[in-house]
Symmetry: C2
Subunit: 278 residues, 2 copies
């Protein structure tokens, strides 16, 4: 990593920062391809975030910011412009400065999931999708599925109000998309996503009834604790195709690179270069 006076900075803002993985994914790629940019972690407390964000973007060589917990929601109100995906997801984790100096926010976590299933052959306009879990990541995936033109979308959350609120946001921004809530039954869906934390702890129950999965359904997972979670193993045993959690992670990076105006590469290459292994 040859940082010099022309290096551009992507500020990675969160608190705490110790578990940050982005520097170990982006920076080895920048280094390998001689891209004069660097992702730098900043441990920024909630009460300092608004000032920090504005201050950093006043620097000529700050090209963008990656925003993570606990700022992903609060950042939305600090920006001059956000995409519909941000509005639906209710959270933003990428900010860039537009040529006129205004700050624009977007959100590509869900785009990573969508790119992954598209590359596995899923034709979204023909697909009924079920997203189980309507928190941060579930909202992001639902937002990106809607943006990508999914045929129909069902949402479930153990907290029914959370699913209803997400459905309302989806209907506001995607009025022609059929959105259902209230059931985690996967039968009849071509794409089913676990966007709950179930699977992060040993012995967690499965997030939905896998016996109701149809063979041929693609089951996606956001949990990255192991490559093949208990859910994915059960789905595979039923004849389903699967998408592992890290596919979503590495599929989203090219979208972020593009947003920041940096050269893009493939998820496979990013995975091979990353200094963090999954």
């Amino acid at each position: 990593m040859n940082i010099d006076g022309r290096t551009e900075v992507i500020a990675h803002l969160g608190y705490p920062t110790h578990a940050f993985k982005a520097p170990m994914i982006y920076n080895p790629y920048f280094e390998a391809d001689g891209i004069n940019a660097v992702v730098v972690p900043f441990a920024c407390r909630p009460e300092d975030f608004a000032h920090a964000l504005r201050s950093l973007f006043r620097m000529d060589n700050v090209r963008g910011a990656l925003i993570t917990m606990p700022h992903k929601v609060s950042v939305v109100d600090l920006l001059d412009e956000v995409t519909p995906t941000v509005r639906v997801a209710g959270a933003c984790n990428a900010v860039r400065r537009l040529p006129d100096g205004r700050l624009q926010g977007d959100q590509f976590d869900g785009a990573g999931f969508v790119r992954g299933v598209q590359r596995k052959g899923v034709r979204l306009p023909d697909t009924r999708a079920l997203v189980v879990g309507a928190g941060g990541v579930g909202s992001a995936i639902a937002a990106s599925l809607a943006q990508a033109g999914v045929g129909e979308l069902a949402l479930f959350d153990v907290n029914a109000g959370v699913a209803l609120a997400l459905a309302a946001r989806l209907r506001e921004h995607h009025p022609h998309l059929p959105v259902h809530t209230g059931s985690a039954d996967p039968q009849g869906f071509g794409l089913v996503v676990n966007a709950t934390p179930l699977g992060m702890a040993e012995g967690d129950p499965l997030p939905f009834d896998v016996d109701r999965l149809q063979s041929g359904t693609l089951v996606g997972e956001v949990v990255m604790r192991t490559e093949t979670t208990a859910l994915l193993a059960a789905a595979q045993a039923r004849g389903c195709r699967v998408q592992v959690g890290t596919d979503m992670l590495f599929e989203m990076i090219p979208a972020y690179l593009e947003f920041f105006g940096l050269p893009v590469t493939t998820p496979e290459r990013l995975r091979a270069l990353a200094r963090v292994k999954y």
Copy 2:
């Protein structure tokens, strides 16, 4: 350079940043020794500097800041505490956060010069020193010579008022030190410093009359355009010892490392590891 969620940042603030050298000196050393810290350039305009400095130091993992043009003077009034060296030099280029959160500034440019001549055997309390040029770098060198206990100090600047003002600051903070102004005649001095920009351009006149140098005098140079400037060549021809400009540069780095609480190494090793060659 393995930046991760535990990396500490030294923010290098200036405008413009294109000629920055510090990242190419500090970072290869951090990398070689597995020190989890990184010097990151920030192109910060004067009108944004006060906010930027405060914002950056609110981040838990910002360990320090290197301050360069055009902020070296204005930063002094933004700090909670500065050393006498900063007061005499009238400029500060290193800031750290004290345990109680206050910001403290120091200045080691002159310390680099002083460490260099001390390692060349100069015993400062027995030495009469002449500093030619009383601008930023001349003031820093004079401040550090005074701090290090030089026996006597003479100052010259083509702008007499600048030398008089520096002399007044020196007398205020070092009341027992004899300080003279008004002549660039090097005769009778054991240590003579060119702290003017003369030598940066081809064909510059020499900053003082080298025919008046005594053999055995140590002649120091701040100009780094070439290793042996015309002044140093003339001084060597008169039987003088010399200190080249880059000696000052690499001698100052250990002082900055110590100030930031980072592991220290030798100037020689820093020079060998640096990705910028002089």
